[in-house]
């Protein structure tokens, strides 16, 4: 499930972007140092392969509905964590750009949710120990199912946390978790089956392919840097999450940080230059200075409803709606105007 821009707050989005960029930079540095160029076209084409594979549906036994391959886990198994993370990142980037799945700011979250967990958490900690380098199809099946389940549960839970920390949705944690986790449990079991099936098939049909990919992939060297980067990335995620939670309980994240800097909510007024002139002009043109009707008689209660309501006071909302309609009208006019002007040209 892809995280969407519209549900995201800047703090959460930026933090996960930072985490993703850090991990991506690390993975690509790692790959560059240790692999031969052969991997570059292979990784690229395998990204396209994931797309093509996702086009092919299969019938899920017993239900009649159909499913397709997710991809993160199978890439991690076939290519190793570093290359798989980059391939997954590129697949999600293309999805964000062409299908608008998620969005560009949420891309950081999506790469983290669908790339980081399978590649850097589940693959080294669950898949590798469980298979132990054995080629026994049964063990590969068990390991794939376990890995897919854990990876997708982490991913789904991250979507929940990212949404909640962003504070745009009203869903309480418990209900959200109950909505997301069971669906993904079912999906991931099937994903595990399919992943193992494909790997076992390829191993049976052309074992040398897997061996040659395995030979050209980096083996775990340089642990120290890895640890440092991981800690940094995880810390970034946690701090950003905590920060954004604070920000979202305040009326406005940005105003809040301005308050931190200046000690009060509004920017200090400039007394020189163009600012006072503009301010004067604004005061002259503003019919109702400071955005809201004075609570005179007709509905005095409105002005003092909960402070969690910046800007939805009666005065603001009426002039706001009028303004919105006018601005929308103007935008449509501009659009239609340019279009018809162009149309005459052509």
């Amino acid at each position: 499930m892809h995280m969407a821009d519209a549900l995201l707050s800047p703090a959460v989005g930026t933090t996960l972007w930072a985490g993703t960029v850090a991990v991506g930079g690390y993975a690509s540095k790692k790959l560059k140092a240790q692999i031969d160029d052969r991997m570059i076209p292979l990784m690229g084409v395998l990204g396209a392969f994931i797309f093509a594979a996702q086009m092919i549906n299969f019938t899920i036994p017993g239900t009649g509905s159909s499913g397709h391959l997710g991809g993160g886990m199978i890439l991690a198994i076939l290519l190793g964590p570093h290359a798989a993370f980059l391939v997954m990142a590129s697949v999600l980037t293309v999805q964000a750009l062409f299908f608008a799945d998620g969005g560009l700011l949420a891309l950081g979250c999506n790469i983290w949710n669908l790339g980081f967990y399978p590649c850097f958490l589940v693959y080294p900690l669950i898949y590798k120990p469980l298979t132990g380098g054995s080629k026994n199809p049964g063990r590969i099946l068990a390991a794939s199912i376990a890995s897919a389940v854990v990876a997708l549960q982490f991913g789904a839970f991250s979507v929940v946390m990212e949404t909640l920390l962003s504070g745009k949705s009203e869903l309480p944690l418990g209900a959200f978790v109950l909505l997301m986790q069971p669906i993904h449990l079912a999906i991931s079991i099937i994903e595990g089956f399919v992943t193992a099936g494909i790997i076992n098939y390829v191993r049976g049909a052309r074992p040398e392919i897997l061996d040659s990919i395995a030979a050209s992939r980096p083996l775990g060297a340089g642990i120290s840097l890895k640890k440092v980067m991981m800690t940094f990335a995880v810390l970034a995620v946690i701090t950003g999450g905590a920060l954004s939670w604070c920000a979202s309980t305040h009326p406005d994240g940005l105003e809040w940080s301005v308050e931190k800097i200046y000690g009060r909510g509004e920017l200090p007024e400039q007394e020189h230059g163009i600012a006072p002139v503009l301010k004067d002009l604004q005061e002259k043109t503003a019919f109702l200075p400071d955005y809201s009707f004075k609570p005179e008689g007709n509905n005095p209660k409105k002005a003092e409803t909960a402070p969690a309501w910046p800007g939805i006071e009666a005065g603001t909302s009426v002039s706001g709606i009028v303004g919105a309609v006018i601005v929308l009208g103007m935008i449509v006019l501009i659009g239609v105007g340019i279009r018809s002007f162009r149309g005459r040209d052509a």
């Binding site: 995201l8 560059k32 570059i40 690229g44 396209a48 086009m55 299908f99 745009k168 706001g320």
Partner: protein, 269 residues
């Protein structure tokens, strides 16, 4: 969405980027940066903001009209990906029922306002992201990312992926057609056949990568895909950036929409 429309949609988005308009001529870097700033500004609005988001539609509308991108194409693509945002957002009106405003006698709950805000942010962010590709080719965006400091390995990844996307999708299309011809109802579309199909596709893909690699070596590949197009930041690109930033700052920090509304109210009083 069926497979064929998916395939043709990517092709269509790609073809749109070859048009010859003012927007298409802008430097890809300028467009990438402007898009990111725009998205960030839109997302930074608080949960219950609706009115102040309205002017931001000017940006996608201008890109769309000046760039001659068909409106319905973009809207259709937006609708296709909307379910997740709607699914999560629709809980707001259900759970947040405090009355926020009374308009013409109808009381509006806070949840509906935040839901509307989510929908508007969704429309803004998705349309601008799609328009970035429609007005800048995918390779343009990739080379822009490269020049903005993204790792060469990742950028060549993206370029390869895009180059072979169409090739492999056509292959998948042939596979699906072959399977459909041989299966009856849901028979033959089960997991067992599926795993073998994907396995075969994977083996073919690896073989193809091997051939590509040999071809690249014989043409002198050294780990980076250079762009032959020389681009310079021109005055017009800087002007575009400056205008965009001014637009974003003005509409983020000043409540322009409400001022206009108040002005209009004053006129008709």
């Amino acid at each position: 969405m069926t497979f064929d429309t998916l395939y043709f949609d990517i092709g269509r988005l790609d073809r749109l980027s070859y048009r010859d308009t003012f927007v298409h001529h802008l430097d890809p870097r300028a467009k990438v940066i402007a898009t990111m700033l725009f998205l960030f500004t839109v997302i930074s609005f608080p949960k219950y903001e609706v009115v102040a988001l309205v002017p931001f539609f000017l940006f996608p509308v201008l890109l769309m009209t000046i760039g001659e991108i068909p409106v319905w194409f973009i809207i259709k693509k937006m609708i296709i990906v909307s379910p997740f945002a709607i699914f999560i957002g629709i809980f707001n009106p259900i759970l947040d029922t405090r009355t926020a405003a009374v308009i013409f006698g109808v009381s509006l709950s806070a949840g509906w306002i935040s839901f509307l805000s989510i929908l508007m942010k969704f429309a803004l962010t998705i349309s601008v992201a799609l328009l970035l590709i429609a007005t800048t080719s995918f390779s343009g965006v990739c080379h822009a990312l490269r020049r903005l400091g993204f790792p060469a390995l990742f950028v060549s990844q993206l370029l390869f992926l895009y180059r072979y996307l169409f090739v492999l999708m056509e292959e998948a299309m042939r596979i699906i057609r072959a399977r459909d011809m041989r299966s009856f109802g849901t028979r033959g579309t089960g997991m067992k056949v599926f795993m073998r199909l994907i396995g075969t596709l994977f083996i073919r893909t690896v073989n193809r990568a091997e051939r590509i690699y040999c071809a690249m070596l014989s043409r002198g590949f050294q780990g980076d895909i250079p762009s032959l197009k020389k681009v310079h930041i021109a005055f017009i690109d800087l002007a575009f950036m400056a205008t965009t930033i001014a637009f974003l700052v003005v509409f983020r920090f000043f409540r322009v929409t409400e001022e206009i509304g108040r002005l209009a109210q004053g006129l008709f009083r």
